[in-house]
């Protein structure tokens, strides 16, 4: 029970931090936020195969093939797919974020920043702000 509580809290804290960062509406924060969200989701998928200590998903001879004796292998396969996809998508998002900073001169996700006022961001070293 305490293990389940710990795991649930961990997933929840990761998710909350991710959502908070997403709402900051700056590209770099959003990349971090989405990464945290995907961590939370990946852990969640993994734990949906039930928390089991000391069980392998590999079938051994003589042991009945039920989930009481083995760990569920499917969530592990699912989480692998999800990790790969979220990794690739984070790369895409980073590329877009860099480009967006180059185009706009700031890292706010809205073109002009909020209410049409240009957002002040520290300039990139070695480059004059537009």
């Amino acid at each position: 029970m305490s293990l389940a509580l710990l795991v649930a809290l961990g997933v929840g804290v990761l998710m909350a931090c991710g959502v908070y960062l997403l709402l900051r509406a700056r590209t770099f924060d959003m990349v971090l936020g989405l990464t945290l969200v995907s961590y939370a989701v990946n852990l969640f998928i993994f734990f949906m195969g039930r928390l089991a200590v000391g069980k392998a998903p590999i079938i051994r001879a003589g042991v009945p093939e039920t989930l009481t004796n083995y760990a569920d292998p499917l969530p592990q396969a699912l989480v692998l797919t999800a990790i790969v996809i979220s990794f690739g998508m984070t790369a895409v998002l980073l590329a877009i974020a860099v480009r967006s900073h180059a185009e706009n001169g700031h890292d706010h996700v809205d073109e002009e920043g909020r209410s049409g006022v240009a957002v002040d961001t520290p300039p990139i070293p070695g480059r004059t702000p537009k």
Binding site: F44, S86, L93, A97, R99
Partner: protein, 567 residues
């Protein structure tokens, strides 16, 4: 050949598109003619697959394909029912028209256009075909990843900003999808939609809450894709920023969300369960509100791309309303309306593209009026009428069927009010935009109209802005190629040499207009098919029986020589 095609009908639309995407990559970035040839061959094959699927399913057959010959709940199953067949044919048709538009366009294609295009088709086809929830997620990701690339063709500031919003909201949607899918797996131990339906039905009351949470999370994800009310703000900006032929292909993307909602409400949580009624009640509030808001948005749109974008939102609202009503007749009307509205959206976007091309000519000649304008104007009227659901065209037939199907429903007053009011408002919006664009015929205003298309015209007057972005990105390109590229892009005459070029851009739109008219004339056979499709959807047992009852192919067993000690 035919037997092979029939046996593998369910996997072919995915395999062909994937193979074509790979081949276009292998051929190389510079050999555009070969890439185009491969893409056309693939499109032709996809079209014949779609037609074959429609023909064969109309006789009541359902094709189930077991990947790697694993039995259904264990392996991934693909299924072709009537709804899937419609969507396959529609996807390949819109794909063909977009290809034609891209071929006839004077604009050079962007980086990796053809591979991305093929991957997009693969993702769409896969999302329509799959009968497995996690596989649906994977195909969503395939089509989204391709669409990010398509959106960022010829990237400029507007496109980059739109892409940021679009990518982030879709990644968040994917995270929610994963949560819902794994929650369902955690409770039921399966991801096959047919098996899920059975398992959910057999669940005890204490697991119901979890399954309901998972179901509503799924609905939120699909509502993001279909652009339902609180989750639709990404759509207009994205479609406005996308290159117009790409936007025409995006017309299919919201439909993926709609089809997924259909599957959720008819297969995973079928009629009769408590969760189903909660879901349809929620959707019956949201979807008509989406329609009304879209109509207001269309009325306030200042440029055509935004107007079409809001119409896409409105049509999704209409479709989901009909799905939530759930009567077979409303469902059939929804499928009919889905075909018509997708074709009309593509027509409007491609028409905007051809006007955008023609615009440069008219402004630089300094004289408005001419046959191109008349044609694009006529096509705009056809598309607008079909979109708004004005009587002669197919949009009206679908809408009337949906209204008739909801007549006996308890929410009839609310649904009818929303549908009719939204229809009236969108007629106003199209009339207003059309008169602004086509009746103010003097050169200065035409230039204004070109700006009003909401597209940074590739010809005039921001032409200079495009040049830096059009430089080749690929390091594989040599100096000479780069010079040729610049010469082709930068020094191209702003005024096309002949009307033929502009006439060519009217061909794809013309085909779409003819398709709309045909859909109206041959409405009866199409409606018979959608009626059958709706009846099939209302009886999920058919799908469940076919998917779970499909036996793996028996292969002749080759005896394996036993070597050594096998413990």
């Amino acid at each position: 050949m035919m037997a092979f095609a029939l046996q593998h009908l369910a996997i072919l639309p995915i395999a062909i598109a994937l193979l074509a995407a790979t081949l276009t990559l292998v051929v190389g970035e510079r050999r555009l003619a070969q890439q185009r040839a491969i893409a056309w061959i693939a499109i032709a094959l996809l079209l014949s697959c779609g037609a074959l699927a429609v023909l064969r399913t109309s006789s009541g057959e359902m094709f189930v394909y077991l990947m790697s010959n694993w039995r259904a709940p264990f392996g991934i199953a693909l299924a072709v029912d009537k709804l899937t067949a419609i969507m396959l044919l529609l996807t390949s048709f819109i794909g063909a028209v977009v290809m034609a538009a891209q071929t006839s366009s004077r604009r050079p294609v962007g980086t990796y256009f053809y591979p991305l295009f093929m991957l997009q088709l693969m993702g769409l086809n896969g999302a329509f075909l799959t009968a497995d929830l996690f596989n649906l997620f994977v195909f969503f990701e395939v089509l989204l990843a391709a669409s990010y690339g398509m959106l960022l063709q010829h990237p400029d500031r507007a496109r980059t900003n739109a892409a940021t919003h679009y990518v982030v909201i879709n990644l968040l949607g994917s995270a929610l999808f994963l949560i819902a899918a794994s929650l369902l797996y955690g409770v039921t131990g399966t991801l096959n939609m047919a098996d899920l339906s059975l398992k959910i039905n057999a669940l005890g009351p204490q697991s119901r809450a979890l399954v309901a949470v998972a179901g509503f999370t799924l609905l939120v994800v699909f509502a993001i894709k279909a652009a339902l009310l609180p989750l639709n703000f990404w759509l207009t900006g994205t479609y406005r920023a996308a290159a117009l032929p790409v936007a025409a292909l995006f017309a299919l993307m919201t439909k993926v969300g709609v089809v997924a909602i259909v599957r959720t409400l008819t297969l995973i949580y079928p009629d009769g369960s408590a969760i189903h009624s909660h879901m349809s009640q929620a959707l019956l509030v949201i979807a008509p509100l989406t329609m009304l808001m879209a109509a207001c948005g269309a009325l306030s749109a200042r440029d055509v791309s935004t107007l079409i974008g809001w119409s896409v939102v409105g049509s999704a609202g209409m479709l989901v309303t009909a799905i939530a009503i759930g009567e077979p007749k409303a469902l059939s009307g929804a499928l009919f309306y889905l075909i018509g509205s997708t074709v009309a959206t593509a027509l409007l976007f491609l028409n905007a593209a051809s006007l955008d091309q023609a615009g440069a000519r008219v402004t630089s000649v300094g004289e408005a009026g001419g046959r191109q304008w008349a044609w694009t104007g006529a096509l705009f009227v056809i598309g607008g009428a079909a979109m708004a659901g004005v009587p002669p065209l197919s949009g009206f037939i679908g809408k009337a069927t949906i209204l008739a199907g909801s007549a006996s429903h308890s929410a009839q007053v609310w649904v009818w009010t929303a549908v009719l009011l939204a229809g009236m408002l969108s007629i106003l919006a199209y009339a207003r935009m059309g008169s602004r664009l086509f009746w103010k015929r003097d050169a200065a205003l035409v230039l204004g109209a070109c700006r009003a298309w909401g597209v940074e015209s590739e010809n005039w007057p921001q032409r200079g802005r495009f040049l830096p972005d059009l430089q080749p990105h690929s390091p594989a390109m040599g100096q000479k190629d780069g010079e040729n590229w610049i010469a082709a892009v930068g020094l191209q005459p702003t005024i096309p040499k002949s009307d033929r070029l502009l006439g060519a851009s009217l061909v794809p739109t013309g085909v779409l207009a003819i398709a709309l008219v045909c859909l109206t004339i041959f409405a009866a056979p199409v409606q018979r098919f959608t009626d059958q499709a709706a009846a099939e959807l209302k009886r999920p047992q058919i799908m469940i029986g076919n998917v779970l009852g499909k036996l793996p192919q028996q292969k002749p067993v080759v005896p394996v020589p036993v070597t050594g000690v096998n413990k």
